[in-house]
């Protein structure tokens, strides 16, 4: 269910904080559209660090794998990346559907190596919000539905005090892919 405890602005603020602390840069340099690699100078190891900070802040589990890896796993080898290490047309249209039209780099024939540069502060924010929106209706510990926010960042049960258990990022991507495939039959 979508949740109303943590706002997008709050999540974006935390994302900025995580990036700024990881890269040791000024928070004000980070815009929603900033590419972590291209604009902010992140390296691959920094993604793990930023994800870890967000997981600690919100009590969530971020996706460990890029969506392309999930596509390959679900729809077979070669479905997302062709023999020339280029993103397939089908995967590109799927990514456009997921990420919006604001990515001119995202085009058929794009190289696999260019994909990590598509991660922006905004895409991380959406990722976190997706996970937070997996808030179950009822507390898995006591069965009541009395969620409350703690510090505006964590959601806990007002009845028994347990923190909410969210679906992890990888499972959410898989569920999304399954749904889109059923509706659009891309693969």
């Amino acid at each position: 269910m979508s949740q109303n405890f943590i706002t997008e602005a709050t999540v974006f603020e935390e994302v900025k904080k995580a990036i700024a602390e990881t890269l040791n840069i000024d928070k004000d340099l980070i815009k929603p559209e900033s590419s972590l690699i291209k604009d902010l100078g992140a390296e691959s190891l920094d993604f793990l660090d930023i994800n870890y900070r967000l997981e600690q802040a919100f009590g969530i589990k971020m996706a460990r794998h890029f969506i392309l890896e999930h596509i390959e796993e679900m729809f077979g080898e070669g479905s997302a990346i062709d023999a020339n290490s280029q993103i397939t047309d089908k995967a590109v249209s799927l990514l456009q559907f997921r990420m919006g039209e604001n990515f001119p780099e995202l085009r058929p024939g794009m190289d696999m190596d260019e994909v990590p540069a598509l991660v922006t502060a905004q895409s991380l924010t959406s990722g976190v919000l997706d996970i937070l929106d997996s808030l179950p209706e009822k507390c898995s510990a006591c069965g009541n539905s009395e969620w409350q926010s703690e510090n505006g960042l964590r959601i806990k049960c007002g009845s028994c005090g347990e923190y909410a258990a969210f679906t992890n990022g990888d499972d959410l991507i898989k569920a999304w892919l399954t749904k889109v495939q059923e509706e659009k039959k891309i693969f």
Partner: protein, 431 residues
């Protein structure tokens, strides 16, 4: 080719190894020339739930077969690293007959190793006496007496180097190298340099590592360096293949006896090859990402050729670092093309890691010895699991089957995390 022998020449008078493919050089080389894999499911610790559950283990029974009472009393200083390097070193020193050399202060040791990881049991034990806020119950800890002083020694990477000097009675220079995957090559390269400069007459050089335990393994899992997608364990390490997706962790050790040429001649021992050149460099770029244009790798390869006084035209074979990670194999290919130009595509390039996995600090030493054995047996070892060509990796990787081909001069690449690079130039002994 014209080389000037203004510096002292350094030759190889012995070598040894213990690897997932065999208990010595002969066994390992034979299995590798058949294109066999030493990778299987890990049994040394519980891998349940881990996204990677495979590795290249050295068989315990091979270690148990070695009758070595002198060394046994020192095993407590190292969980496994010492046993591995001792096995490789016994093979090498026996071949080179180093025990007959009188001047022990002219024999040195140079070793690449990264020490033991703490065990979970030790950490759990310590945790009992810690309040979580920086305070220790030292009285309780000392009274319990279950935490051994040996743990301190096991985590010092230099202790095994010292042990080798004690066990082989070598009083010359003693050098410990800690440079990740480049350590084995650097240990040999720096030993070669010491011999060239006259600091010693003989150097026992090599590397060992053993990371197939929970604490050692989990770090590599978390940074996603290991292969997580494989149909069978034997197929996971696939350097330069388009479907490569990470390296496979292995353990092992390799030792090489380097000797100044005239010293070897005066002893009348057989010579198995020559170290012609060496260079090391740093990417000065990032911790796990390689420099996209392979600048550090290029510096190391060019430096080794220059040091050997040869041109890129003279190289007949390249023993690649070839880890099976997406980045390394691409960057290494880019670097080879830059150094060797048009000729790059006609030089055989192969990765022993396709069969052995990645033995980290031991890799450079094992690969140097296998390169030498290949030169002497006119055999170029294959890159196995090469099934799907990667358009960006377009060299001759000696796919799947060993090649019988005479070759005289080879280079062996080793590139470590943090952008630490080493390259050795190895030649057939010309007399």
């Amino acid at each position: 080719m014209s080389r000037e022998f203004s510096k002292r020449r350094v030759v190889v008078t012995g070598y040894g190894m213990i690897t997932p493919l065999g208990k010595n050089t002969e066994e390992t080389f034979r299995s590798a020339s058949q294109g066999l894999s030493g990778i299987d499911y890990i049994t040394s610790f519980d891998t349940k739930g881990l996204p990677c559950q495979i590795g290249g283990q050295v068989q315990d029974r091979w270690l148990d077969e070695i009758h070595d009472p002198v060394a046994q009393r020192y095993y407590k200083f190292s969980a496994r690293g010492l046993r591995l390097i001792r096995a490789a070193t016994l093979e090498a020193t026996e071949q080179a007959q180093t025990e007959k050399i009188a001047a022990r202060d002219r024999i040195g040791v140079s070793l690449g190793y990264h020490a033991d990881n703490p065990t979970i049991e030790d950490l759990v034990f310590l945790h009992r006496f810690y309040n979580g806020n920086g305070s220790w119950d030292m009285k309780g800890l000392l009274q319990a007496g279950g935490y051994s002083y040996l743990n301190f020694l096991r985590r010092k990477p230099d202790v095994v180097t010292s042990m080798l000097s004690i066990l082989s009675n070598c009083k010359g220079p003693n050098l410990s190298i800690v440079s990740a995957c480049a350590a084995g090559s650097q240990a040999i390269g720096e030993a070669y340099r010491m011999l060239q400069e006259g600091k010693a007459d003989v150097m026992i050089a090599g590397g060992c590592d053993t990371t197939l335990n929970f604490i050692g393994f989990i770090g590599f899992v978390l940074i996603k360096a290991l292969s997580e997608r494989y149909t069978t364990p034997q197929k996971a390490s696939r350097p330069f293949d388009r479907k490569r997706n990470g390296f496979v962790m292995s353990e092992g050790a390799g030792t090489i006896i380097l000797e100044e040429l005239e010293h070897a001649r005066s002893r009348g021992v057989p010579v198995y090859g020559e170290i012609l050149g060496y260079a090391s460099s740093a990417d000065a770029y990032r911790i796990t990402d390689t420099h996209p244009k392979g600048l550090g790798a290029i510096l190391a390869i060019r430096g080794a050729l220059e040091d050997a006084g040869i041109s890129s035209e003279d190289v007949d074979y390249i023993n690649a670092h070839g880890t099976s990670t997406v980045q390394n194999d691409l960057t290494e290919t880019v670097a080879i093309k830059e150094v060797f130009g048009e000729r790059a595509k006609s030089i055989p390039v192969s990765s022993n890691k396709s069969m052995l996995g990645h033995t980290i600090g031991a890799a450079g030493a094992i690969e140097c010895v296998l390169t030498l054995a290949g030169i002497n047996q006119s055999t170029i070892l294959p890159t196995i699991n090469y099934e799907f060509p990667d358009p960006k990796c377009d060299l001759d990787y000696v796919p799947n089957v060993a090649r019988t081909q005479e070759h005289r001069i080879a280079i062996s690449n080793s590139f470590g995390f943090g952008g630490q690079n080493a390259c050795l130039c190895i030649g057939k002994f010309d007399g």
